[in-house]
Amino acid sequence: MSIVVGVVPGRDPRPPVRLGALMARSYGRRLVLVSIISRPWGSGGSGVDAEYLRYRESETARCLEAAATMVPDGIAVEQLSREAHSPHSGLRRVCREIGAHRLVLGSSEDAPVGRIRLGGVSTGLLHSATLPVALAPRGFDAADSERITRISAAFNGTGTSARLVLGAATVASAAGTQLRIVAFTPRQGRATTGLEAGLGADIEDEIVEQWEAEIQQRTQKLITEISEREPTPTRTEAVIGSGETWDEAVADVAWVPGEVLMIGSRTLGALTRLSLGSRAAKILKNAPVPVVLVPHRAGETYAAAADSAR
């Protein structure tokens, strides 16, 4: 099992490669740098197409070469280029063939430095991937010998989410790192006029308090459950981030270098994202650390790791 890093010619490979290396070292895996060459439709036989394809091939080779130099010593690394109709179908196939453990991608170029935005490839993969996809924030870097210091697992109180947290606990235990369960309470949209008129402004605060109490109870249960397993993460804690907006709520919990955040992306479907934006999408947008998205189709496998660890 290996960590697959997708690199794209013309894009800075550093953030995904460094994140891939960080994960490879922490999880004791080898690194596979993959670049996909999009094959033109109808597999062009004309000279012009062939020439363009050769140019693309050489670009890809150079890009993989450059990426390989960014991998710190001590990590087994391999390069691979493939032709495919689309980058995301190619990456998906490679991951399946080599039985990849994680797929690492960079952020879209329009992300602010230190933040993640989904690009075309990552969006496509989220719908179809059957393995967790790690996203490196724009400009991300890690020290040569750094390991993952803590895995934060986003928890929203549901059963699905709880199973993913247990999955993250297994990952954290295996990597010998800490686990932190994080829940967010943005008080966004607390009406200032209108809705709460006639009720007093504190009523929504009480709802949030009630929610926090509910979440705390459920996280406590999870923490107990995690502590009863073998092995356990080096430390397990829970924290609630609150603030007026998602931005503030995510910033409210302290983030440490070498931390990654796991989010289940069950609700990250195109429709939700297009219309109102799901919670997962909002956390992703504001996270200052690399994010491991566990797509819906990968969720069962991710959580099942926890079951087998029991």
């Binding site: 809705l195 008129a197 009720l199 007093g200 709802i207």
Partner: protein, 478 residues
């Protein structure tokens, strides 16, 4: 430990929580005079004016203008009392919370019974009004409308009011999702409402015929007062200004000004709408007219488009009103449930949506049934009597509190005490007296049911009771 006597139980007062000056209070907003006025205007306009004329004019005749003024004055007096009560208890909340912190548990339950009418039943009433305009809009735009069986309550010749039920379900969905109405949405809604009503008045006056006022009060003063009772419904929401009081800048000065300004604006708009409507159409023609404001304009202009404009405006603004009132109902039950005064299910917050989902579903289901099968005039009257009774308790509370705790610090004091609270009490009673007997009867039964429930369940589940008992044990140990 001695068991508290019944009297102690019924009148135990919820202590006012002590708020520290932590950064948490940084959340406090300060609302200036103009936004405060707009809260009042926005919360009030739109509740009833779109459909209340066809209910009130047949009862009061053209003298409905006087009914509007009487209802407005009583609402204003009560709102002033409301403001004093809100200002003497430094918690923010509904009149239920104020009553609990000043008068005690039993009166708080009485107020709660009224609030369930003021919010829950008014949601149903407003939704029924929405259905009329949706049908009008369907007719104007697509030349078809829902069959009568699916647009009216049984008493009005249908089987079920489907659009009203759909509206409530839509609002419930939004609330479950965590819909938030921002200050901007609120302002936009206020503008739409006033623009639509302004449009109605402007077009309506072109059809002016003074002859329509010839028989000004065909049913005498009693008719005017009964009309005021129904119309009172359309002033529901004015109390919102009072509860926003603890966030107001300089409440001593701004609160009464904002209340009175909002009242004057709202009452003027209503009176203008009534004048325009009555000038355009004979009083007899109002009876049973659905989507009244649209119908009147179409009559005057002889074309559909003005009716369509009003219908669109009404559909949008009534939607927002329904959302707000339904929201209010769920939050009042939430607060009651936290106190042990309503079943626990109302305080469960769904972790994923972060909203009280079950609460919202139960409330919407009940309201949807009410809206589906009850006629609008009954719903409007039930809302009115609930609101009037709540205002009555609030006005009495002001007097009780002044006597019991004269030195309590109040951020706002009713001017001309005791004249205003007394007038407010008289006004509320007077309007209640002229409501239909069935309304008063149902109201009494309802309040009695709530109090019986309290007696057998709430009184024992009271969170406050447990806290008081715990405090006593603590004392004893010490």
């Amino acid at each position: 430990m001695p068991t508290p006597t019944l009297r102690q139980q019924l009148f135990r007062v919820k202590p006012v929580p002590v708020y520290s000056e932590t950064p948490d209070s940084g959340l406090k907003r300060s609302i200036g005079l103009f936004p405060l006025t707009m809260i009042g205007v926005g919360g009030t306009i739109g509740t009833g004016i779109f459909f209340i004329l066809s209910e009130a004019v047949p009862i009061a005749g053209p003298a409905v203008i006087v009914s509007f003024i009487i209802a407005g004055v009583v609402a204003g007096l009560s709102a002033l009392c409301y403001a004093e009560l809100a200002g003497s208890v430094p918690v923010s909340g509904s009149s239920y919370s104020y009553a609990y912190s000043t008068l005690g548990e039993l009166p708080a339950m009485g107020v709660a019974a009224c609030l369930l009418l003021e919010y829950g039943v008014s949601t149903a009433a407003v939704a029924v009004g929405w259905s009329q305009y949706v049908n009008q809009l369907l007719l104007n735009l697509f030349g078809t409308q829902l069959p009568e069986a699916l647009s009216y309550a049984p008493e009005e010749g249908g089987i079920v009011n489907l659009p009203a039920i759909i509206l409530i379900m839509l609002c419930a969905l939004l609330l479950i999702r965590g819909a938030a109405q921002s200050a901007i949405t609120n302002t936009v809604m206020v503008v739409i409402k006033i623009a639509v009503l302004g449009f109605f008045v402007a077009v309506g006056f072109t059809g002016w015929n003074a002859d329509h006022f010839a028989d000004f009060a065909p049913f005498g003063f009693a008719g005017v007062m009964t009309g005021a009772g129904i119309i009172f419904f359309s002033f529901v929401g004015l109390d919102a200004v009072a509860t926003a009081g603890d966030e107001a800048k300089n409440p001593r000065r701004n609160l009464p000004i904002a209340l009175i300004s909002a009242l004057v604006i709202v009452a003027s708009v209503y009176v203008l709408v009534a004048l325009a409507g009555l000038g355009a159409q004979k009083a007899e023609d109002f009876d049973g007219q659905s989507a009244g404001l649209s119908a009147i304009l179409e009559e005057i202009v002889g074309a559909q488009w003005p009716g369509t404009v009003v219908a669109i405006g009404a559909v949008i603004s009534i939607f927002s009103v329904t959302l707000v009132v339904l929201y209010g109902q769920t939050r009042i039950l939430f607060a009651m449930s936290k106190d042990g005064m309503a079943p626990k299910v109302f305080q469960q917050v769904n972790p994923r949506t972060m909203t009280p989902v079950r609460n919202t579903l139960i409330v919407s289901a009940v309201v949807a049934v009410l809206a589906g099968v009850l006629p609008i005039n009954f719903l409007a009257e039930m809302t009115s009597i609930g609101t009037l009774a709540a205002f009555l308790v609030v006005s009495i509370a002001v007097i009780v509190l002044r006597r019991r705790e004269p030195n309590l610090e109040r951020s706002f004091r009713v001017p001309f005490y005791p004249v205003i609270p007394v007038l407010s009490i008289i006004g509320c009673l007077w309007i209640i007296k002229d409501l239909r007997p069935v309304t008063i009867f149902v109201f009494i039964i309802w309040t009695a049911l709530v109090l019986v429930w309290y007696f057998f369940t709430g009184r024992k589940n009271s969170v406050l009771a447990r806290e008081l008992a715990a405090a006593e044990v603590g004392e004893a140990i010490r």
